[in-house]
Amino acid sequence: MLRRFTSSIIQSRGIKHQVNIKWVRPEYKPSYDPEKSGDLEGVPQISKSSLGQDYALSEEMKNASEAVQKLFSVAFLGQKEYHTLVRKELMDRVKRHQYDECTAETRIARLTGQIRYLQEYMEKYPRNNKMKKVVQEIIDKRKKLLKYLRQYDYKKFEWLLEKLNIEYKAHPDSYHKLSRKESLRKLTEMHCEDIRNKKLADYRNLLESQQGPFLKQKLEALKFIRSEQIELQIPISVTEQDIKKVEEQLEEWTIREGIKQEAKRKRRNLILNVD
């Protein structure tokens, strides 16, 4: 009884964690979230007093009294007219000509308009599941259209992203539910990679620091050999070029070492200043 009780509280079996990694699960974001859909801006600013799309064309409306204009404004005509104006605003940014309704860029602009006002709606009513699905479908459709546009006209694709303020990210290899195990595995892998890189860098530094003294020794030895060979009048095996080469290497090394020391000093100063 007691054993069962303690085992339920303290997990005794399972993975032994030798690496101390703290995993933070990413916060849940609904599918309509602007961060997921890639929309970098919200609904375009349209004043509530602007006239409905068709009424704005009318000649009589221009001379009409204020009360009539107010009656035919978006605030009185309802959400539907307002949404039409939102779509129109976005489509006007990319329209090729006056009658352009069904080219790729206008279609994407229209869908973008829809997505943006529906996102605003979903913020208000996050439990409307039917609408949530609708938004998701529109977002997917836009992504598909962007994917095709990218394939046949890359320049226009980039221009469109800039104009409509959308981010495009390619699909990942797989969409799957995030698991703790997978995340921990990836984090551990990253941790191991860090350790490996650090060890390699340390070893490299060690070897490079030994290069200078060795080169000095080599230079002296070469000079000595050459002078001895000249003195004893035996065939000369060390040429001037060999010595010059080593001198150059030594010079390079001193420059590099100087830069490294400077960086180290700066870092130390920074730490001291922070403290």
Partner: protein
Amino acid sequence: MARNVAESARKFLLLGQCVPTVKQNATKIRVKRLELDENLLMYFRKDTFYYCHDPEKKCKTGDIVLIKALPQKLTKLITHEVEEVVYPFGDITDPITGKKVMKERYREDVDKQAEIFGKLKSAFNYEAAPPRGWQDGKKDFTTKPTYTKFHVFDENDPYAI
């Protein structure tokens, strides 16, 4: 069979498509082949991936390129080098007339149509457009593979979805 393919791959130039990768100084190339299933006597597609040495970043994601085997392996992974970019992605030229193509139509035809209807200022201008890559890393995230977000890091990676 597999050995034959590997040997012939070493001798000849290969035609493949560039795919997103995180490697620096190298590009990942997908080469599509058809492999015969001897039981079914049917061909099935089989992809092989090659890592190619490409320090100048000659090819971008999606380009169709020719690759050649290096005389010696550069690293354990990098075995090939990029010879030539044959077809840049999303910038298709008709091989017969040499004109630029958008889907099944010439670009100039599309422009002409817009001019007849009355071209607006908001329309896209091909001449003024900068070459591909000016949105790379800003709004267009296609050079590296995307993945499911698995941890909250201090720096937010745009390739994490």
